[in-house]
Symmetry: C2
Subunit: 145 residues, 2 copies
DNA sequence: CGGTTTTAGGAGTATTTTGTCTTAAATTAA
DNA sequence: TTAATTTAAGACAAAATACTCCTAAAACCG
């Protein structure tokens, strides 16, 4: 079950690394992130760029530059991140992919799926980056040993 | 949020159509399914083939041939279909896509995600095709008006 | 100022997923 | 037996996703 695109996976891993490995307001370079997490530097740059545009991160160029949280990670919910990286209707899709599906023309799975995705939405909206990342060891965010 | 591949979407739509539009043991042709549901005939053929291999459907060639349920749809759970079309570890993936993630080396989201996907698994395992399809009008399974 | 470090942005490439086409095999009916 | 109908199977093509590379712009340091 793949609910997130690679962009979201990488973005979340980077943010969780930030939570665990930056003490407050100093910038962490994207190069460090990409190397520690084994993610393509250029690809990660673009992902973090959109989080910067969305005002979840701030970036700074030049030596000792990088990215940092603009908002404290206690106030950033998983749903915020996912909505930026996956699109605004992330929690509003039809299980069967039918474009017309909705309250007034429901597919056979509509009610079933609506309840599940509603619960899932709530979980994502009630869970902060900080609560997921505060104990995150680097090793748990990497691929191999 | 796209949890299912196109193959699963199409496969489920075809099965739900079968539930609503076939009276028991007669074969429904894939041509009819593909035309009624606006799904590519050859693509759908391959999807239904794998459901036939998995013994959810039976197929018959020649005039008046087609596919039919091998098991009554009351006994086919959504999870059965999805496991065939998405793979056996569908309900066992890491949210962050980390290959090593598991009980003994959990990623920061492991516990969080394990609970959500466990609930989702239960819903899929407790819901039959029949219960979703018994009132399915054709129009609710099609794309446009 | 000139060189170095770092993010920004866009064009281009590779890989995966999705969809098409062609031929074969099974079944029926005339 | 011949023709028609239907699923089976595999090669091929298009589209979407994931990734790479190059150049620019900002910030710093000597």
């Amino acid at each position: 079950m793949k609910v997130l695109s690679k962009s979201s996976e990488y973005g979340l891993r980077a943010l969780l690394y930030l939570v665990g490995n930056s003490s407050g307001q100093e910038y962490v370079s994207i190069r460090e992130l990409s190397e520690q997490l084994d993610i393509s530097f250029h690809f990660l740059t673009k992902i973090l760029q959109s989080l910067t545009h969305a005002e979840i991160l701030i970036s700074y160029r030049g030596p000792n530059g990088g990215i940092a949280f603009k908002i404290p990670p206690e106030k950033i919910m998983l749903s915020d991140v996912v909505r930026v990286l996956e699109g605004d209707d992330f929690f509003n899709t039809c299980l069967l992919g039918l474009p017309g599906c909705g309250a007034q023309a429901p597919c056979p799975m509509h009610q079933f799926w609506k309840e599940i995705r509603g619960a899932l939405k709530q979980e994502f909206e009630n869970t902060s980056l900080a609560s997921m990342g505060h104990t995150a060891l680097l090793s748990s965010l990497r691929l191999g040993p």
